[in-house]
């Protein structure tokens, strides 16, 4: 173990700064580093030297807000992503929510919940937004100006639909054996391609996404 009292040479200061920056949980200022080194150690010089040493490597020393940290070279960011290979199964809740949004768009969260009979978890809408199946469409011109949801292009692509006109209606549901005669009168499958009158809504403005979606909007 090195002796703290013994003044380390330049190379040793550089090693120490390297180790400190590597192990730190966040960026360190020169003062943060100096505090952990023997008095008189030239931190600025060590940082400059390290910076040169890592220049062009897979890892670089970066300065953010007067603090220093290692981070992978910006051009290698693509390496840090991992493609998930297995197809994802939509949960029952997600599929049901998606179905309601598809048929009833534009629809508010409260309306989705009234059809489902249960409240939607934050994660469900998040997931649909994240997957690009659903988008925020506008704000209903009603008290509270609730956000409305609609399907996004990815939805049509995924289900092989040319447009919302092609979303199967009651006739197809019947043909698929999903609807039978016992269904109460008045059951109607709305035609989503016709209900989307823009007059009832204001557009969503930039940066005013509802709180629960802010992780995904703007990605």
């Amino acid at each position: 173990m090195s002796d703290l009292r013994f003044a380390p040479d330049e190379a040793e200061v550089e090693r120490r700064v390297e180790a400190l920056l590597f192990a730190a949980a966040g960026p360190l200022s020169a003062a943060d580093i100096a505090r952990r080194l023997p008095e008189g150690a030239d931190v600025g010089r060590a940082i400059a030297s390290l910076r040169a040493r890592y220049q062009g490597r897979g890892v670089e020393l970066e300065c953010v807000a007067d603090r220093w940290r290692f981070r992978t070279a910006p051009d290698l960011g693509f390496l840090m992503t991992e493609e998930r290979e297995e197809p994802r199964r939509l949960s029952k809740a997600a599929l049901e929510t998606l179905a309601i949004i598809a048929y009833h768009q534009p629809v508010t969260r409260a309306e989705i919940e009234s059809v489902r009979g249960v409240s939607i978890s934050k994660g469900t809408l998040d997931l649909l937004l994240e997957m690009g199946f659903v988008r925020l469409r506008g704000r209903r011109r009603t008290p509270g100006r609730p956000v409305t949801y609609a399907t996004a292009d990815r939805f049509l692509e995924h289900f092989g639909l040319a447009s919302l006109y092609d979303l199967p209606g009651a006739a197809e549901m019947k043909a698929a054996g999903l609807l039978d005669l016992s269904l109460p009168v008045g059951f109607e499958v709305p035609d989503p391609s016709r209900t989307g009158s823009e007059d009832e809504e204001d557009p969503i403005e930039d940066g005013e996404a509802p709180e629960f979606a802010q992780d995904f909007v703007g990605d």
């Binding site: 981070r71 840090m80 049901e96 179905a99 489902r116 289900f159 549901m173 999903l178 269904l183």
Partner: protein, 273 residues
Amino acid sequence: MPEAFQPNLDFTAVEEVDARDAFVVDLEGYEGPLHVLLALARTQKVDLLKLSITKLAEQYLAFVHEARRRNFSLAADYLVMASWLAYLKSRLLLPRTEKGKADEPPAEVMAAALAFRLQKLEAMRKASEALMARPQLKRDVFTRGDPEATVIVPSDRIDASLYELMAAYVGQRRREQGRQYNPTQRIEAFALEEARDWLRDILPRLADWTPLVRVAPVRDEAEGPSQASFTASTLSASLELVKEGAMDVRQEKAFDEVWLKRRGRGLPLELTP
């Protein structure tokens, strides 16, 4: 400097430890007789394979003796080891020509086995020390403090067909229909207080067992509480009166008619099934 405060910095003192002082062996750290034996064997300062088992046995017996002298209660396995060692020692001291029991290995083999066992324990002791001397994570060496989280890009492939989407939709609309409940009128209940008053009023007329349905008020208007509510509240109120000792209630069996009757003054509470 007073003698009593002279710290003993002479490390050879440790080596001069004899069987008696071996009792300082930390019994908590050395959990069993084998650990004590190992500690004692180390005082012989020889390779464990060249250990004098006879001497070790003597050391151990002295240790046990010392423990008893100090009224230190030793676990049974320490005593089992003591008697085994006493026996082994006596056999080791016998002339070689005398044979032990037929089914028993020679004393030398048993002694060697003990030495080997101590050697094994010693090896593990040293191994654990060697492990602890290695640079340890988060004590001596540190990994990156702020790793860059790998971004998981979800697979593009999603398992969901149009049929599933339709089924999910229809399923929910069905459930929604089932949930539809539009109360057309306010439900009114026959209040418990009213039921009590009603019962008290007609109590004098309940000298004989009377079915509940004939005691409860009969609904005579379209408005107001339902007949079921009249009956239910009357039953509740009757139970309260039973508790007060004013009436008796009985039912022959489950779902059978409930019968009510006034209780005669001074009659004890009748416990009916």
